[in-house]
């Protein structure tokens, strides 16, 4: 899921942790009221579709810098995308450190 990639230190996570984090964020978004849930999922699909159209691959496979650039460019054109994205980024930041601290604990063992 693209939005988690944008969060700091995401690339330091192990692959299984990345999947667990994106799964948790999807679950959280799924619990939101319909009014917020739908535009956020539309946003995610829209970005994936745009990415496929312009870059020929999924957003989540892009290097982080390219993903951020694309997101920035699209934010200029799609009303509300920036605000919605900020909300999800904040959510990703809140959850990310649970996984980072887990990783640190595993390594210290």
């Amino acid at each position: 899921m693209l939005l988690a990639i944008h969060a700091p230190f995401f690339f330091q996570l192990e692959e299984t942790q990345k999947q667990a984090l994106t799964g948790r964020i999807k679950e959280q978004i799924g619990r939101l009221p319909f009014f917020f849930r739908v535009p956020i999922f539309i946003l995610v699909d829209f970005l994936e579709w745009s990415c496929f159209l312009f870059k020929g691959q999924r957003f989540s496979l892009l290097p982080a810098n390219e993903a951020e650039k694309l997101l920035e460019r699209l934010s200029r054109w799609v009303f509300g995308l920036r605000s919605l994205n900020e909300l999800v980024q904040a959510l990703a930041s809140i959850h990310l450190f649970d996984f980072l601290s887990e990783k640190d604990a595993n390594q210290s063992h």
């Binding site: 230190f9 009221p33 909300l87 990310l96």
Partner: protein, 520 residues
Amino acid sequence: MQTNPINLLDAVNVDSVRCECLVIGSGVGGSVAGARLAEAGRDVLVVEEGELSTVPRYSNKIGQMTALLYRGGGITPFLGRPMIGFAEACCAGGGSVINGGLLWRTPPHILQEWKEEFGLAGFDEVALRAHFETVERRLCVNRHCTEEGNRDSQLLKKAANQFNWKVVAVPRALVNCTNLNLCATGCPSGAKQTMLETYLADACKKGARLLPNCRVYKLESKGSSRVGRARCSLQLPHGQKKYVDIEADEFFLSGGAVQTPHLLAKSGLAPHVGQRLQYHLNLKFAAKFATPVHAEQGTMFTQQVQEFEREGLYMMASNCQPNYLAATLVTHHRKEIEKLLNERFYWALYVAQLRSKSVAKIISAWNEPIVLNHFHSSDFENFKKACIRMSQLLFGAGAIQIYLPIAGAHPVSSEKEVTQALQSAQPSQCRLISVHAMASCPMGNHSTAITNTDGGLKGFDNIVLCDASILPTNIGESPQGTIMALAHEILDRRVSLNFRAHKVAVTRGVAAPKPRMNME
């Protein structure tokens, strides 16, 4: 540690429940209502939409705890320009589980304003004093301020003293705080005196029961001025759901300033309710110091700068974990946030709390409340003033770099740079959050009041509101103390009213209602 037992109603095997008093919401208002009613010998059921989680389950996994204890996993924004992130509890114990445990008495100038502008008689400083004393005693309120482990607060205090600004130690509901700095996600040490430890436990001791995971989606009328039952959906284990009806003689609504008016409007009991929701604005500042601050080891909000109280501005050190640092700077580039987090022991988070003049409207869409905010122009001016004052304070405290709450703005290193940053800022760039919403169903004698001065919903005999929604205006300070004191006063008025009615009924030879709880 959690020692007080909570009686749970096992509703898995029942389809309908009968009780004398139904309290909807187990936050600070609902818990006071539950305790006072149970003490008066009433048969009380408290229903709560969120889960019941207690101290052993709380941890330092902030993401998990946020998902568990907050509505919408922490995301329930007020729509508008700028969009405002609103954080609200959704768990047994309500806001007391996720707040800083601040217990302020209502500022006297606010009570005066309520009396003069809203005709609120009997809610002055003297009348409420006894209630505040009761609440403070029960919640073990004290001015917690250890010199160790609260360096971020101490730096703030030192700077305020330099400027000769009023700064006070904050009265908080806690016992043996160990500075985990996790107040906002459940307090794993059990130091914070939440409703689960105090009023809700007291209610249960007197026979009240709690039904968690139960959302009331409609109140059904019985005649023109009474409500007869609450229709509820109950979340069962393994994702199952069932519907339960709860019949009661009296209904006490404590769902908070957004949910209470939404329920009333959705039930058709007060169609025009929730048009003037008020709230406080929180502006978060990240400040870097030349030496390590270790802000993650301090308790949030131990000192408060009150110099600008009359302008509705309060300044404090906030909870500071890497999660919150990253979330605060979410509009900045990932690399920039990573750099900051690598040196996070030098950084601390501070909050300026503003008494907003904006008014929001609650509408219903797909059965959920949506809050539409109209950002008042004076709030933008106050936002800028708050940025200037907080920066002055932080530079005075020794900060060498500050991130202002402006989307994408570069960090500033001098007061001149703050002025420059504010000159080019637009209202839509303000990054704001709110944790205090109120005044959506104001009480009083004025024409726009929704509730009477005994908390009763106008036009109804058996609906009482006792949460943040009944405050006539926003109050600037954290409202927990005010909500609890008002709930005490309202319950005193209601209980004595019902006691008189009970006596009249007995004198006239009419059978008085007996406490009962039938599970069919």
